[in-house]
Structures are given as structure tokens and as C-alpha cells.
């Protein structure tokens, strides 16, 4: 393959696809493959780290009755990666509980995984009408993702988290997401700058979503900023790592709805 070919492939993929958003296992991390177990379950993009555990919290658009709490753990044996987690979103009347799992394979320059999430409304009284028609109060979605590093500093990914869905509809329609990340860094991988773009496929009659961002890493610290469209908005995030412990946070500001805040704390088995 000629040196410029990966860039062309990435460009074509971005043109074809469109930015799936998190719902049950949102993690304070830039889009694309990440080491956080929650992000693995959410996107189906397998991490390179071998093992880890994470607790994440999201407050959507400053609404106290719409918060997500999730815990997840991941493990790896050789090239195999597996993760599982549970989450709870929203207050009793509208909220739901979820259990998710992901299983994937990672090689040096590629990874592929399947993921699935099952949901059930928070309040279903035993013997009630809702319990008798559980398909109206519970649902399952399944999909997958893959990433590829066609060049040393380039990663492209594709995520189809809801390739199939059954039962009650997911809280958020998440079409396919394609993205690419390019890093400029030192050879040790402990510092540097990365840029990414992502495009989410059109959902229904709506147009595609687009996102772009940049991340600066210096030793154990990382900071990133993102911009998105529909409507135009921005966010920023920070993470800090001390040995296996990673603490991260992200704030995205919506011009009409307010801020969405994500925080997470993780124990990761392999340092970057």
C-alpha cells in the first residue's frame, strides 16, 4: 500500500458515514478507541489495555432527574478483550437499568468487537400489566465496532452500536459513526498532540452529525476540546493518571439545553 492510501481510505469512510452518542455507558473520553471499559461497551471498539475497571457518572443537560451511573470492568487474555457493566439512568418514572457486555479481539494495528446492551424500565411492579408485557418495557440492542491503524500515527474506526434492536426502543437512536484520529507525539507515547474528526450517519430524516477535536497529552495529564454541530456547541475534558488510577471529566455546553457533565474514575491494568 502506498503511504498515502490510509489517508484516502479514512477520507472515504468519513464521507460515507456519520457521530453516535453515548447513552448507558458514557465515559469522559474523546471519541474513538479508548482504554476505559465503559467506552468499550458503549462503542464496541476494543481497548489495547489488558484489564481495568471504571465507574462513570453523567448528568445530561443539567437535569437532575436525568443522570446515568455506570460501573464496568474489562479483562484481556492475549488478543481477547471482554468487558461487562451495569448502569442506571433517570428517575423512576422515565428511567431504566441496563446491563452491557462487549467481546473483542485486538491486534497490534487493529481491533474488532461485538457489544450488546439489555435494558429494562426501572419500575415494573411484579404481576403488573407492564410485567406481563415486558417487551414494552425491556429491550436489547447489539452491534459492534472496529478500528484500524493503517499508519503509525493514524487510527480510523467505525462503530455500529445499534445494528440490531428489539423490544422497547433504545432511549437514543445511534446510527453508525466513523472517525479518524491522527497523533503527533514523541516516540515514548507519553506526550504529544492528537486531532480527530468523526461523522455520525443521518438518523431518519435528520442530516448527518459532525464532530472534531484535539487532545494534548503531557505525561499523566491529558486535556481535550471538541466541537459538534446540530446545533454548534463545544466541550472540553481533562484526565489525570497516577499509576493505574485514572480520573477524568468532561463538560459539553449546549446553547439551549445547558451543560452535560461526565466524570469517571478508572483502574487500568496497562499504562499507555
Amino acid at each position: 500500500m502506498k503511504p498515502r492510501a490510509p489517508c484516502r481510505i479514512a477520507a472515504v469512510l468519513l464521507a460515507l458515514a456519520s457521530v453516535a452518542r453515548a447513552q448507558d455507558f458514557g465515559s469522559a473520553a474523546p471519541p474513538g478507541p479508548a482504554d476505559a471499559p465503559c467506552a468499550f461497551i458503549e462503542s464496541g471498539l476494543p481497548p489495547s489495555s489488558i484489564a481495568g475497571a471504571e465507574a462513570a457518572f453523567t448528568r445530561w443537560f443539567a437535569l437532575p432527574d436525568l443522570e446515568t451511573r455506570a460501573i464496568a470492568a474489562a479483562a484481556g487474555i492475549g488478543a481477547l478483550r471482554v468487558a461487562a457493566g451495569v448502569s442506571q439512568t433517570g428517575e423512576a418514572g422515565i428511567g431504566w437499568n441496563a446491563a452491557g457486555a462487549a467481546l473483542g479481539v485486538v491486534r497490534e494495528r487493529a481491533g474488532v468487537a461485538l457489544r450488546a446492551v439489555a435494558r429494562r424500565d426501572r419500575t415494573i411492579a411484579p404481576g403488573s400489566e407492564a410485567a406481563l408485557h415486558l417487551e414494552d418495557r425491556a429491550g436489547l440492542e447489539a452491534g459492534g465496532g472496529a478500528w484500524l491503524a493503517p499508519a503509525e500515527n493514524l487510527i480510523v474506526w467505525a462503530s455500529v452500536p445499534q445494528a440490531w434492536a428489539g423490544g422497547t426502543a433504545p432511549p437514543l437512536d445511534r446510527p453508525m459513526e466513523l472517525g479518524a484520529r491522527y497523533a503527533i507525539g514523541d516516540s515514548t507515547g507519553r506526550g504529544g498532540l492528537a486531532f480527530w474528526v468523526a461523522r455520525g450517519a443521518p438518523s431518519g430524516d435528520a442530516p448527518a452529525d459532525h464532530a472534531a477535536g484535539a487532545m494534548l497529552r503531557s505525561g499523566p495529564l491529558a486535556a481535550w476540546a471538541t466541537v459538534r454541530d446540530r446545533p454548534l456547541r463545544g466541550g472540553f475534558g481533562l484526565s489525570a493518571r497516577a499509576r493505574w488510577l485514572v480520573v477524568s471529566g468532561e463538560v459539553e455546553s449546549h446553547p439551549d439545553l445547558g451543560e452535560t457533565v461526565r466524570v469517571g474514575i478508572a483502574l487500568l491494568g496497562s499504562p499507555p
Binding site: 457521530v19 452518542r21 447513552q23 445530561w60 443537560f61 437535569l63 432527574d65 436525568l66 433517570g90 418514572g93 422515565i94 417487551e135 414494552d136 429491550g139 440492542e141 434492536a165 428489539g166 423490544g167 422497547t168 426502543a169 433504545p170 432511549p171 437514543l172 437512536d173 438518523s203 431518519g204 435528520a206 452529525d209 459538534r228 446540530r230 446545533p231 456547541r233 459539553e252 449546549h254 439551549d256 439545553l257 445547558g258 452535560t260
Partner: protein, 569 residues
């Protein structure tokens, strides 16, 4: 004989010859001479009195009120002996009926008039007879003993015999067909005659006549607030044959109540008016609370037709004794249209003493009902259907209105669907409401509350009951239920600190994308609620963003999470 002397001799001979033929000489001016010269080609036969005015359609019963006026424009008296007035029925050919025949002593003095008419005509006609003329399109004619005929037709004619040239206009009831000027003869009834106020025995177009154009007097707003400025407008016309100099005439207006007149306007008219000219006036006035008769009059020295100098209208400043409180203009359950009214006076009022109208001309009258002070009543298009839908109503206060003025259900280009107008039986305004149908849910009446007309909180309205108060909220907005089915109906309620604002509701998905505007922006009272349907919105969890934009100040925005149920596609 020198040539000049020969010419004078010829002129003298012609004059003597004319006198010897016995023809009366025209009254002197060139127009008369010209008319005489053209008589054979025009409508009025020479050497006979003209038909100057025909009054064939009185308001109400015509009997005894009809008349025909002769006018003699010549210098000598003209006899009417043997002249016959015949009424023509324009629906068929040769349908002429004799109505009057001139007696031997009947004549018209030089420059004089002779009226043939019914016993009710004032001043009394020279010859009283019931003419029984047809209302147009028909005709009247005078057949002279020498065989000459003058025909005056009015309204479109199917047969040529019923008019001379183009027929004159068919005048509305209460107006007469008058020759203008009084000796006009231009070759067609349409050119010689026009509608005018009846003037038996008097000139149709006086030499000096300044008139306040009938029906032009208006007050804007029609029902001003007490002490607030209002505009009294009207038109003044020089209806005489001569011109009127600037400052020669004056305008006076007064507000008249039982206590007497209060002068409003008195000033000279600072414009010169040629014959036929019309000018408008626009005066700023203020009225104290209550019922008034506004009278405007023009004053001109030597005015020969004082009857058209003044006009008046009934007006009211401030609210009337009866007020509208609820308007059902788009009933959805077969109950018919209805309005609710309240007696805001300190004494009982009879509903039959009021009329109800819309933007059209229909004025409905309610069945009699003495309404106690502060009481509510319902004026209904279909009383029985309304009582059937609301069986608990006090039927004595639900009154049928006939004819019912049908109220429009959609706005015109000015944003108004229709008017609902209450008047006293003499026409005095009582209340006028212009309403908009935009954004009013189908079947829901408008009601007066919070200082405006708003959709009723109760979907079918509250006839004979005060408005249902919207439930106070602990927040500015409330969406309920928070979980609804895909085709379900939800409710947006609001409790705002501003008297009027523009309220809307938008739904965003968890990715922050705008998905739907189930409640587009609309004018909203301080408190209220509106329902919306979740149809066409995909299932999922959404952030419902309710927004109120007051006329001034920052918007009020609140959001909450809702869930629309549904199966995965």
C-alpha cells in the same frame, strides 16, 4: 337696403315668427336654448314640463309615499291637462298602466313644480293619487296630449321601450330618482338622473347646498375609553350648483346626552368647494363615559336644502351594560356556536334589547330574558343542542338567537377571524371583540381572563360559569405525563410572571439534536395549558424545552426529561 339692416330685419322676422307659433320661451340661458334646439334627439319633449323626480321605493310600505314631480324650466306656464302618467312593468313588452291624468286646471308655473303623489307625501302634492309604481327594474312615462312621450326607466331593462337611452340607476329604498341638474337632458336616463334624498316640490340641486354626506360620520375607535382621544370623521359635499368660498361655511359637532349637548368642534371650513366637490374632516374628540349621540352639522348662509346639513351617530365611551365573556366559534360536539355574556350593570337587563352580530350584516336578537346584575347568560345558535351537551345549565339563561351570525373559524390576512359585536337595539355599541382563531385547539372556546382572550382551560368551555383557573404550578412549566405512548397526548402547563408572552415547546434527543416542535410558538396568558400529540415523534428519551418570550426582558426557559414509549423499529 344696406346689408346690416337686412340682417337685423331677418332676425326680427324670425323672432316674431317664433312668438306667433305660441311656443313658450325657454327661461333664458344658453343651455335651455341648446336643449330646445336638440329636443328631438333627447329624452324630454320640448315645450312640456320635465319629469324632475320619481320616488318609487319608500322604506317599508310604499303606499301613499310615492310621487312624481314635474318641473317647468320655461318662462311661461305649461298646462298638464290631458297628460297621463303611466307605470311600466319591465318584465314584458307593452305593459303600461295608467296611474294619473291631468285635469283641465292643472298647470305648472314658469320655473315651478307640480307634484303628483300619495297622501303621505310632505309637503302635500298638488294632486293626490296612489301611483303604485313598480320597484326597479321598471319605468314611468308621461304621455302628452300632442303625442309626445317622456320615459324614465330605472334598473337594467330587457325592453327598449322602458327607458330613454341607458336606464337610470335603480335607487335603494328611501332614495328618489332625481334629475340633476333639474333641467338636465343629455340623451339618456342614466346621465340625467341619480339617487338623491326625496325633495318633493323643491329643487333637486339647489344653487347653494352644503351637505354632510349621509352615512359618512364615523367614530374611531367605535367605542373609545372614557377621556381617551377618538377621531370623528366624515365627508362634506357641495351639493349645490354654485361654488362655496373658503371660510364661508363652518362645521360644528356636539355630543348629546339626556343632560343636553356638549360642544365638541366648531370651526370654519377652510377650503373652497366647487359644485360637486367633497372634502373629508377628521376631528380629535374626547368623550366622558356613557352613551352619546354625536351630531355633526355644516352651516352655510343661504343654504337652500337644510335637510342634508347634519348627520348623527350613536356612540358609547367605556363599557356597555352587557359584556362578552366567552366565545365558542368552532364547536366540535354538535352544540352549535354560542357566546357567554355578563350583565355588568347595577340593574337587570333584557337580553332581547341587544343584538349580536359578526363582521357581516346579520344582527341576531335573543329571546327575552331579564338578566340580573353580575349574572351570566348564554346566547346560542342551537339552544336545544347546547342544553343537551351541558345538561346542568340553568336553561332560563340559555337563549336562542335568531338569526345567528355565523362566526368564522380561520383568520384573514390581518390575523382576525371575525368580530363579535353586541349593540343595544337602537344600534348603540355595547362591546366589540375581534378574535383570532390561530392556535386555538379545535372545539375549545375563547374566554376572557387575565386581561385577554385566551383558549379556555376547559376544553369544552364553561358556559354560565366563570373560567376554570389553571392549576398553580411550583415551576414555570410542567410537562405531563412524563411518560407517554407513541400516539399519546401530553399537556404543557405554564405559570408565568408576565401578562403575555410567546410560549413554545421543543423536543431534543439525548444527543442534543432538535427532533420536534410539538407546540409551535403562540401567544399565551400568564397561566394556562395546552395539549400536544406525540404522533410522528420516534420513541425515545427526550429533553422537553419549554420557552416563554415576554414582550420585554429575557426569555424564561425550563427543561425536563420525558419518555415516549414504543417498540424498536
Amino acid at each position: 337696403m344696406p346689408r346690416r339692416d337686412a340682417a337685423l330685419a331677418c332676425l326680427l322676422w324670425v323672432a316674431i315668427a317664433a312668438a306667433s307659433l305660441g311656443a313658450p320661451r325657454a327661461r333664458g340661458d344658453a343651455a335651455h336654448a341648446a336643449r330646445e334646439a336638440r329636443a328631438a334627439a333627447l329624452c324630454a319633449p320640448a315645450a312640456h314640463p320635465l319629469i324632475a323626480e320619481v320616488f318609487y321605493d319608500a322604506i317599508g310600505d310604499d303606499t301613499g309615499s310615492e310621487f312624481l314631480e314635474f318641473y317647468n324650466p320655461y318662462d311661461g306656464a305649461l298646462s298638464l291637462a290631458g297628460a297621463r302618467i303611466e307605470a311600466g312593468d319591465g318584465s314584458g313588452p307593452n305593459r303600461w298602466t295608467l296611474r294619473w291624468t291631468g285635469h283641465a286646471g292643472d298647470s305648472v308655473a314658469a320655473g315651478g313644480r307640480f307634484v303628483v303623489g300619495g297622501a303621505k307625501v310632505q309637503p302635500a302634492p298638488q294632486s293626490i293619487v296612489t301611483l303604485d309604481l313598480q320597484n326597479g327594474p321598471d319605468a314611468v312615462r308621461v304621455v302628452w296630449p300632442d303625442g309626445a312621450v317622456e320615459v324614465v326607466g330605472y334598473g337594467p331593462q330587457e325592453f327598449a321601450e322602458y327607458a330613454c337611452g341607458a336606464p337610470a340607476v335603480d335607487v335603494p329604498a328611501g332614495r328618489s330618482l332625481a334629475r340633476m341638474p333639474d333641467d338636465a337632458d343629455l340623451g339618456a336616463n342614466a346621465m340625467d338622473f341619480r339617487a338623491a334624498a326625496p325633495s318633493p316640490g323643491r329643487a333637486n340641486q339647489p344653487r347653494r347646498d352644503l351637505a354632510l354626506v349621509a352615512g359618512s360620520l364615523a367614530l374611531a375607535p367605535e367605542q373609545p375609553d372614557p377621556g381617551a382621544s377618538a377621531r370623528l370623521t366624515g365627508r362634506i359635499a357641495n351639493a349645490g350648483a354654485g361654488s362655496i368660498a373658503s371660510g364661508e361655511a363652518s362645521l360644528a359637532a356636539a355630543a348629546i346626552s339626556e343632560a343636553g349637548p356638549i360642544p365638541l368642534v366648531t370651526h370654519a371650513i377652510g377650503a373652497a368647494l366647487a359644485a360637486g366637490d367633497t372634502i373629508a374632516f377628521d376631528e380629535s374628540i374626547t368623550l366622558a363615559a356613557g352613551k352619546w349621540r354625536l351630531r355633526a352639522a355644516v352651516v352655510l348662509a343661504g343654504d337652500e336644502a337644510p335637510d342634508d346639513d347634519a348627520d348623527s351617530l350613536l356612540a358609547r365611551a367605556g363599557p356597555g351594560p352587557l359584556e362578552l365573556t366567552e366565545i365558542q366559534f368552532h364547536p366540535a360536539r354538535g352544540e352549535g356556536e354560542w357566546v357567554e355574556v355578563r350583565n355588568r350593570s347595577a340593574a337587570p337587563v333584557d337580553l332581547a334589547a341587544f343584538t349580536l352580530s359578526d363582521r357581516g350584516t346579520t344582527r341576531g336578537v335573543a329571546a327575552a330574558c331579564a338578566l340580573a346584575p353580575e349574572s351570566l347568560a348564554v346566547l346560542a345558535e342551537d339552544r336545544a343542542a347546547l342544553i343537551a351537551l351541558f345538561p346542568g345549565l340553568d336553561t332560563a339563561r340559555v337563549r336562542q338567537v335568531r338569526p345567528w351570525p355565523i362566526l368564522n373559524n380561520s383568520d384573514d390576512s390581518s390575523g382576525v377571524a371575525d368580530l363579535v359585536v353586541l349593540r343595544e337595539e337602537d344600534g348603540t355599541p355595547c362591546q366589540r371583540v375581534a378574535y383570532s382563531a390561530a392556535g386555538v385547539p379545535g372545539g375549545t372556546p375563547l374566554e376572557w381572563r387575565d386581561g385577554g382572550w385566551w383558549p379556555s382551560v376547559a376544553s369544552t368551555g364553561t358556559p354560565l360559569a366563570p373560567p376554570v383557573a389553571a392549576t398553580p404550578l411550583s415551576r414555570r412549566f410542567a410537562c405531563s405525563p412524563r411518560r407517554l405512548r407513541a400516539d399519546g397526548t401530553a399537556r404543557l402547563a405554564w405559570d408565568l410572571p408576565c401578562p403575555r408572552s410567546r410560549v413554545s415547546l421543543e423536543l431534543y434527543d439525548l444527543a442534543g439534536r432538535l427532533v420536534a416542535r410539538p407546540v409551535p410558538e403562540f401567544d399565551a396568558p400568564p397561566r394556562g395549558e395546552r395539549s400536544w400529540r406525540a404522533a410522528e415523534i420516534p420513541p425515545g428519551v427526550y429533553v422537553a424545552l419549554a420557552r416563554a418570550r415576554p414582550p420585554s426582558g429575557d426569555p424564561i426557559v425550563e427543561s425536563s426529561a420525558i419518555r415516549i414509549e414504543g417498540r424498536a423499529p
